[in-house]
């Protein structure tokens, strides 16, 4: 019992067992997800890759995507953090309705979202006349791309952050208040610090979702090179004309996706583990 464990062995959790026959569907599921990624990587013309991703149209799309995603991510954080805070902390009638509506873009087909944007902010839409009077014509401009990306990405941040805020509760905020900290100081120095991992994960996921945005952008912003043709739109266009170029850009997005998932979920998993271990240490 007390003999030192030989190097390389570890103690496993004896209770962690799974029904053996579930292994097969699990493997099929993993394969279904992994195979397309492998397929894409196998199709890449590695020799011409640098030339393909630095072509004029590819560079224009990449630059546009980088710009729009940066702006829409900033807007997502600026609007999503207050929204998540209200949903988590306020208790008002109609709250369920508000949350349902706010989170709808998560499951809404992006094309439908694009149509909605068009009839809200486009010419002749709900706010279109107001915008026209102000000399703004949003539809089919870069601003429309940012709007479309914000529309689909915002719920990702709100969902992640609201959950974290609810789970964390208001105990520390109450402590800060009795120590004389006003709501803004408490939010800045206590709340944000406590939900930081969720805020980072939510932001990264929202940025990734904005980067991949296709349907709503195409519907609301169109596909103008250098103006509204982001990387996903460029990939779809090139698919017919130059499959190699499409594959090269796809590979780029795939790499971004892998990095994002590793950063967002790897980070939260580590944080969760750290929290679990610190809790068990605290109670021992």
């Amino acid at each position: 019992m007390t003999a030192p464990a030989p190097a390389g062995t570890r103690t496993r959790d004896g209770a962690a067992s799974v029904p053996r026959w579930l292994v097969l569907p699990a493997l099929v599921g993993a394969g279904l997800i992994v195979l397309p990624l492998v397929g894409l990587a196998a199709r890449v013309e590695w020799g011409s890759l640098p030339a393909l991703v630095t072509s004029e149209s590819a560079l224009a799309a990449l630059a546009l995507s980088a710009r729009t995603v940066a702006v829409s991510t900033l807007i997502v954080v600026a609007l999503g953090v207050p929204l998540a805070l209200m949903l988590a902390r306020l208790d008002f009638r109609g709250m369920v309705v508000v949350r349902t509506l706010v989170l709808a873009p998560l499951v809404l087909p992006p094309v439908v979202g694009g149509l909605g944007l068009l009839y809200a902010f486009g010419r002749g839409g709900l706010l279109g006349d107001t915008f026209t009077l102000l000399g703004l014509d949003v539809a089919f401009t870069t601003a429309a791309v940012v709007l479309a990306q914000t529309f689909v990405a915002l719920p990702f941040l709100v969902l992640a952050l609201e959950g974290a805020l609810r789970a964390d509760g208001t105990r520390y905020e109450a402590v800060a208040a009795t120590l004389g900290a006003g709501p803004w100081t408490t939010f800045r120095r206590v709340t944000v610090r406590r939900v930081w991992p969720a805020l980072v994960a939510g932001t990264v996921l929202a940025a990734a979702r904005a980067l991949g945005e296709f349907g709503a952008t195409l519907t609301f912003a169109g596909s103008l090179e250098g103006v509204t043709r982001t990387v996903p739109l460029e990939i779809y266009l090139q698919r017919e004309m130059d499959a190699d170029a499409a594959v090269a850009l796809s590979l780029l997005l795939m790499l971004v996706a892998l990095v994002v998932v590793a950063a967002a979920y790897g980070g939260t998993t580590r944080a969760a583990r750290a929290r679990t271990s610190s809790t068990s240490r605290g109670t021992s």
Partner: protein, 325 residues
């Protein structure tokens, strides 16, 4: 300071005099924590009053006024230290002064003094989440005192600590709280006995009795207070009460005493084991008496609940007025 909460079945008035420590003594569920949360502004019942008098004159809550928690010169320390994780110990203590508007440097200087006062200056740069429970609670105390509260509210400050840490914390509080106005909720008689000047006993959401520590503990007027100090309490027809210690009550089985006379007869309600004796509680007219039974004179095996016994209270047990003086 005074606070009352008619909601939640709690109708209690609590008054803390400047510079004194009031122990809010009562069992779990008596409404002690609710009273403190209302005083701090963390709960807002429709019909509560919280008022500060003296130097820090302020109506915190009445029918019209409402002052949010961060504008009240009250600080609440609970059984859970609730230190801010991810901050250093020093910055935890500096949190209050910083929120008050002090510069980082001045706030940290003040925090260092308070850390020193609780004997943890050496941990200033440690991260809050690495401390033991006892250390964390002392840091939480320093953090609370660093805000220089007009009233410090303590809600079961020792409940989550082990025996040694609780003892150290009690000693620390006894030394640091001499000039601070304190309201301390506790279910533990020892906390009150060691720290309080005045005692308010709460039972079922109401104040059972109140007064200076020695008066309340030596002359209990409520059954709960008597049981808390481990004494019996009998109210007599002439308006006086006696509260003898179990060691001051001799018990004999009923028929044996007919000869000697005197004493009161009652039924055994409860039998407890104590270090060197068997303690029984006897229901007698006007109240309850505790008695330590010497196994050599009475066979404890016959003292099952329901048995009729006669209690003789020793001479010299003080009798006092049943209602508060």
């Amino acid at each position: 300071m005074s606070a009352s909460v008619p909601e939640r079945g709690i109708a209690a008035r609590l008054v803390a005099d400047p510079g004194r420590t009031v122990a809010l003594l009562g069992p779990n569920g008596a409404g002690k924590s609710t009273m403190l949360a209302v005083a701090a502004g963390l709960l807002r019942p429709d019909d509560a009053h919280v008022r500060l008098t003296g130097d820090a004159e302020l109506v915190c809550q009445d029918q019209r006024a409402w002052v949010p928690p961060h504008r009240r010169p009250l600080t609440l320390l609970t059984q859970d230290a609730s230190l801010f994780a991810g901050m250093s110990v020093l910055d935890n203590v500096a949190f209050g002064p910083r929120a008050e508007g002090l510069s980082r440097r001045h706030a940290r200087a003040a925090a260092r003094d308070w850390l020193d006062a609780v004997g943890l200056a050496g941990l200033a740069s440690s991260r809050a989440e690495t401390l033991s429970g006892g250390q964390a609670q002392r840091v939480a105390l320093a953090r609370a005192l660093a805000t220089a509260p007009a009233v410090l509210l303590l809600d079961e400050p020792f409940a989550a600590l082990d025996v040694d840490a609780a003892g150290a914390m009690r000693a620390l509080l006894a030394q640091l709280l001499r000039d601070v106005t304190v309201v301390m909720a506790t279910h533990d008689l020892l906390d009150a006995a060691m720290l309080a000047d005045d005692v308010v006993v709460m039972h079922d959401g109401a104040v059972a009795e109140r007064g200076p520590l020695s008066e309340v503990l030596a002359r209990p007027r409520h059954d709960f207070t008597a049981s808390l100090v481990g004494r019996g309490l009998v109210r007599r027809d002439d308006g006086t009460s006696i509260a003898p210690r179990p060691s001051q009550v001799r018990v004999t089985t009923a028929h044996a005493t007919l000869a000697s006379g005197g004493g009161v007869t009652g039924a055994v309600r409860r039998v407890e084991a104590h270090a060197d004796a068997v303690r029984i509680w006897v229901e007698v007219p006007g109240g309850r008496l505790g008695a330590d039974v010497d196994p050599l004179t009475v066979d404890p095996r016959v003292l099952t609940p329901g048995t009729t016994v006669t209690c003789v209270v020793a001479d010299g047990v003080e009798s006092y007025g049943s209602s508060a003086a």
